[in-house]
């Protein structure tokens, strides 16, 4: 067993990613949703809105980075794994190779992170161009990396569990889309009614949205960071277990 068994898994995804990047449609599909939200809510509706004393765009951009990193890390891993497992059968060569399930998991997750970071970096660039006080604090970077890692793990889990490609859309509709809207992307979670707020605090994106906007590492930041790490670790262990148990 190789220590760097994850690398060929990661490399394969990167070779495929590089080819996809050359297709103009890929770039647009990664960008279209966050930019629609940015234009509609940030430059449109949010022009005269301020939250906690700052303009709405300054509030929105970190939230869009969190949302975009979630969507792209999750979606690309989930779809790629689902297709390679059920239709192209390319997942078989990983299962039949002398590498550990955790290495397959790590390779897929790191590839998902790259895709999530790529999409996020485009929003970050808009942030630098449109918001005067926009900076990348260590907490921002940590939250972004952790969010990509967490949702790429979730992508592996759903990609391994779904029995058809259509099933992945069902999971997205029930988990990813509600999180994108209620997880603190567009408005502070504490403005929600108590009963909804309690449910929303269970969602990982809520804690990324909290952490990514923090400028100081206070108690709330510590709690969000701990929950994200805990959740990501649990997802990683469960995803590795699903790969270990893989049987056709």
């Amino acid at each position: 067993m190789t220590t760097f068994g994850w690398y060929p898994v990661f490399l394969k995804e990167m070779l495929l990613f590089r080819r996809k990047l050359l297709r103009i449609g890929y770039l647009f599909s990664a960008m279209v949703a966050p930019f629609i939200y940015l234009i509609a809510f940030g430059f449109g509706l949010g022009r005269n809105v301020s939250i906690n004393g700052t303009d709405y765009l300054s509030f929105l951009i970190p939230g869009l980075v969190a949302m975009s990193s979630m969507n792209n890390s999750y979606t690309w891993v989930c779809n790629s794994l689902n297709m390679s497992r059920l239709y192209f059968k390319t997942f078989q060569i990983f299962v039949q190779a002398p590498i550990k399930p955790a290495s397959i998991m790590m390779g897929e997750v790191l590839a998902g992170m790259v895709k999530g970071l790529f999409a996020s970096s485009l929003i970050i660039m808009v942030g630098f161009l449109s918001v005067d006080a926009f900076t990348l604090s260590p907490l921002f970077v940590a939250a972004l990396l952790l969010n990509c890692f967490l949702f790429a793990n979730l992508g592996v889990i759903i990609g391994m569990r779904t029995k058809s490609h259509e099933d992945t859309a069902t999971y997205s509709n029930f988990f990813i889309m509600p999180m994108a809207f209620f997880g603190g992307t567009f408005f502070p979670v504490d403005r929600l009614p108590l009963i909804i707020k309690s449910a929303v605090y269970v969602l990982p994106l809520t804690h990324t949205s909290i952490l990514i906007r923090k400028t100081v590492f206070d108690g709330e930041a510590m709690l969000s960071l701990a929950l994200l790490i805990l959740c990501a670790t649990a997802f990683f262990i469960y995803g590795s277990k699903l790969i270990r148990q893989y049987s056709e």
Binding site: P8, L11, R19, F88, K89, I93, P98, S247
Partner: protein
């Protein structure tokens, strides 16, 4: 080298394999012959750690495949029936990823040699999606040979190939045997099983119904076949133990009678009453 002991596998209510017992020796080219849906691919998947049996065990060199898959993976090469090449990668990239997964040393030389062996070296930088079906099957074979595995599993290797390419493939498989490898090959082509295999197991509806050398299987049912087409256009076949008996029988028939040697399809028909399709 390979020992299959009472293996049963079900998919829902369908029994894919039922109590299969089988041993395959080192250096053999062993053929699994049977129609589509007989259970050949399921057995290969179990032997290559891609699927787990519901009961029974498969062992390679005494190692239980289901219990310790990681210990057998370095010794096997697989060319599956379903094309599992990455179609958006080049031929070279497909082999590079595979070589890295299997920790091959001297990767570049080995990839070059293997691609030359299957006549694909000049297409090494082409995207696999642009390859013909025959080229993709040759690349699958190349990938399975890349790590020089002790055991090679080839699931319907010549499916969809034209006769010329098929014979090239057979030459490569025969050479593999000379190199001392064990080859397990599934096929529903009679000619392929007879040309390559020194022992054949016949599977039908998940059960192993015959196991022997092709010549012995044919001898057991009779050496010659007398064939004629009846008035309804139906093929009538009768098997005879000797050439003289077959010619005697042919003399008693009207025109349009042919006498030929028995093949493995005749064996299959004798055992199951059905054709190999």
């Amino acid at each position: 080298m390979i020992k299959i002991d009472a293996v049963t596998k079900k998919y829902g209510t369908i029994t894919a394999l039922e109590h299969i017992d089988l041993s395959i020796g080192k250096g053999e080219i062993f053929g699994l012959l049977g129609p589509n849906g007989a259970g050949k691919t399921t057995l290969i998947k179990i032997l290559t750690a891609l699927s787990r049996p519901d009961s029974g065990t498969c062992a390679i060199d005494g190692i239980d495949v289901a219990a310790e898959p990681d210990r057998i993976k370095p010794y096997i090469g697989v060319a599956p029936q379903e094309n599992n090449l990455d179609r958006e990668l080049t031929a070279y990239e497909n082999l590079l990823i595979y070589a890295m997964l299997h920790r091959c040393t001297d990767r570049e030389t080995r990839i070059a040699e293997t691609l030359k062996r299957v006549d694909l070296w000049d297409r090494k930088d082409s995207i696999v999606a642009g390859f013909s079906g025959g080229m993709q099957r040759r690349l699958l074979l190349a990938r399975s040979l890349l790590t020089e595995p002790a055991i090679l599993f080839l699931d319907e290797p010549s499916l969809g190939l034209d006769p010329q390419i098929r014979r090239q493939l057979w030459d490569i498989i025969r050479k593999t045997r000379i190199d001392g490898r064990t080859v397990v090959i599934t096929t529903h082509y009679i000619e392929e099983a007879e040309a390559l295999c020194n022992r054949v197991g016949i599977l039908a509806k998940g059960r192993l119904i015959a196991l022997d050398a092709p010549d012995n299987l044919k001898m057991n049912v009779g050496r010659f076949v007398v064939e004629r087409i009846n008035e309804d256009g139906k093929l009538i076949q009768r098997i005879c133990p000797t050439r003289d008996a077959a010619h005697d029988m042919a003399r008693g028939e009207n025109n349009g009678v042919t006498v030929r040697k028995t093949n493995l399809e005749d064996v299959f028909i004798q055992l199951t009453g059905e054709r190999l399709e």
